[in-house]
């Protein structure tokens, strides 16, 4: 923990860090690039709105889903987005508790990423309901019809898991943000910014007794967030594993899903880290050492996910069940074999380059590998859903799934739903934790 290895260049001053990081919202350095990115993101968001309007008007029949593939893109993207969210919480919470110093430069945008990824995930089950305006039926409210929700159903667990995850992530994010909002308030010169940061920082003044209570609340919330991440994604996997469908009914699912989630999430953190670092010239805070650690984590979680792949095959073979083995055969050699092999290719082949230190420390290489992982994990979720469903127990109900334009447009649209608030957050709040970076710098100088 405190071997005083240098992760931040020590020559920096605390005041310099505060000015640099609060300067990003206060004197936005990359106005034009931000406007272009925002225009792109807004176009995607508009596409989502059109897709959702079409969906609400005409129903889920506009998607390529059928019987038996009645879950496809909606749930597959739900799992993918939720998985991306998980790395944010893991970086923030788990590494806070274990005292990993390198988290400080990454945790803020990782948490921000989590928040919006969970929102993207959360809308999918609602859209998939068929009649989304009845989503409130999932809540236990005293209905005049005298009906209560079914708490023994995994779909009911879903709503509690996602709502809790979103709320706790938001609380954790905001607790960590308060001192930095106060720092931005104190640097702000424009009246509008003073009011904005003045109100959002709640009048934080950095009093010793405040810090004491704050630290306790922050660390305790972190301690709660770690099992929460594991439980939420295990719960998602139980949606599958609790069913009898071949290819789903497996005990490896909860850990396999959680690790896959961490894998795709860390890939997204790496993408955002490289982009923001290049965009705002944050090379002094998100250093090559940070990329190095991210690369190592990506490699480790990737290899663990690879173990899940191996175990899935083993599980099917060991079970000796005809349907399990047929699904396995379908995956590796069926009509959707390209999805399976695509997942293997994108997830694990470029990943091996991360064994080399030089590759891990190169922003471009890490960016490309991470994009490949994001695609690979997307294919993996598709593989789990479609290749299991399209041929179930009854030959008479076999049917293939082909995504329609609306499947794709809804998916691309959620990327807009993710990017628009994320870009707004980049514009409005310090994207790297100011006080934690200063704390680390102080510790490093002390240890020197």
């Amino acid at each position: 923990m405190s071997d005083h290895s240098e992760i931040l260049p020590r020559r920096q001053s605390m005041g310099g860090i505060a000015d640099q990081l609060t300067g990003i919202p206060l004197h936005f350095p990359a106005e034009r690039r931000w406007v272009i990115a925002m225009a792109f993101a807004s176009a995607l968001l508009l596409l989502l709105m059109v897709s959702v309007t079409e969906l609400f008007t005409r129903g889920v029949g506009i998607w390529g889903i059928n019987i038996p593939v009645n879950w496809a893109f909606a749930i597959h993207n739900y799992v993918w987005w939720l998985g991306i969210g998980h790395a944010g919480t893991l970086i923030s919470a788990l590494l806070l508790l274990t005292g990993s110093e390198w988290r400080n430069s990454l945790n803020r945008f990782a948490e921000t990423m989590t928040l919006f990824a969970v929102v993207c995930a959360g809308i999918y089950p609602i859209l998939h309901l068929g009649r989304p305006w009845y989503v409130y039926w999932m809540f236990p409210y005293p209905a005049t019809m005298g009906v209560w929700p079914q708490f023994r159903s995994p779909l009911e667990w879903d709503i509690w898991a996602v709502m809790t995850y979103l709320t706790v992530s938001l609380a954790f994010w905001y607790i960590g943000l308060i001192p930095d909002l106060a720092a931005a308030r104190d640097r702000a010169t424009g009246r509008g910014w003073q009011i904005f940061f003045g109100i959002t920082s709640l009048g934080w003044r950095g009093s010793a007794v405040h810090w004491l209570r704050w630290s306790q609340a922050y660390r305790m919330t972190a301690a709660l967030a770690v099992p929460l991440v594991v439980s939420v994604h295990s719960e998602v996997s139980l949606l599958f594993a609790a069913g009898q469908i071949p290819g789903w009914h497996s005990t490896i699912f909860p850990p396999y899903f959680v690790l896959g989630a961490a894998f795709s999430g860390f890939a997204m953190v790496a993408i955002i880290a490289v982009v923001l670092r290049c965009w705002f010239g944050l090379g002094n805070l998100v250093t090559d050492d940070h990329l190095d650690v991210l690369g190592k984590v990506l490699l480790a979680t990737g290899l663990m996910t690879g173990y899940g792949y191996v175990f899935e095959v083993f599980d099917a073979l060991y079970s000796g069940e005809a349907h399990e083995m047929r699904t396995l055969l379908d995956r590796v050699a069926g009509v959707y074999a390209w999805i399976y092999w695509g997942a293997v290719l994108f997830n694990f082949v470029p990943l091996q380059a991360l064994w080399w230190r030089g590759v891990r420390r190169s922003g471009w290489a890490l960016l490309l590998i991470s994009i490949s992982v994001a695609i690979g994990m997307w294919l993996e979720r598709d593989m789990i859903l479609v290749t299991s469903l399209y041929r179930d127990f009854l030959v008479s109900s076999w049917s293939k799934f082909t995504p329609t334009f609306w499947d794709w447009s809804t998916y691309l649209g959620t990327i807009g739903l993710f990017l628009v608030p994320f870009l707004i957050a980049v514009r409005l709040i310090p994207m790297i934790s100011i006080f934690e970076t200063k704390e680390l710098l102080h510790e490093e100088k002390e240890g020197a």
């Binding site: 001053s13 605390m14 005041g15 505060a18 000015d19 005298g146 209560w148 929700p149 079914q150 708490f151 023994r152 009911e156 667990w157 509690w160 898991a161 709502m163 809790t164 995850y165 709320t167 706790v168 609380a171 954790f172 905001y174 607790i175 001192p179 106060a182 720092a183 104190d186 640097r187 003045g198 109100i199 709640l202 009048g203 934080w204 003044r205 950095g206 009093s207 010793a208 007794v209 405040h210 810090w211 004491l212 209570r213 704050w214 630290s215 306790q216 609340a217 305790m220 919330t221 709660l224 967030a225 099992p227 929460l228 439980s231 939420v232 719960e235 006080f435 200063k438 704390e439 102080h442």
Partner: protein, 176 residues
Amino acid sequence: MAERAYGMLGEFESPEALLAAARYARAAGYRELDAFTPFPVEGLAQVLKIPRPWISLVGLIGTLAGAGTALLMQMFVSYDYPLNVGGRPIYALSAFAVVTFELTILCSALAMLIVMLWQNGLPRLNYPVFAAPRFHLASKDRFFLCVKSEDPMFDDREIAAFLTGLGAASVERVPS
């Protein structure tokens, strides 16, 4: 100087200087002390004799309340609207585990956040120390020690001399 003071604010350049100053101030008999720092400074709470916070206790209470509420809610719902799905038990505790776990965490986290803010007296957008011209540096790279006016030994001039003697870069009187 007719106005009542909130306290005297001394500015220090490093956490070590602040800790040393706080120690001297305690030794000199000052009891109503507060410090303002850009990040949590280790050991400051012990020097200032701040009592241990009980936020974690609140978290525990929230945990129990969340778990209890979740279990009772699910059992009541299953009792009030029993559904026989494949002959499975109505009170299926293992099936209730997920929602119970989620609500446990939700209630605990929210309880801690709310109690932390409430105990800290936040949100309170204005506070006397904000009036000090150099206080904005407390969120940047300066460390402030404040002797509050409630202190029985409070005396403007004496404290100013005392803080300057400890190496304070600036000493300001904060009006209340």
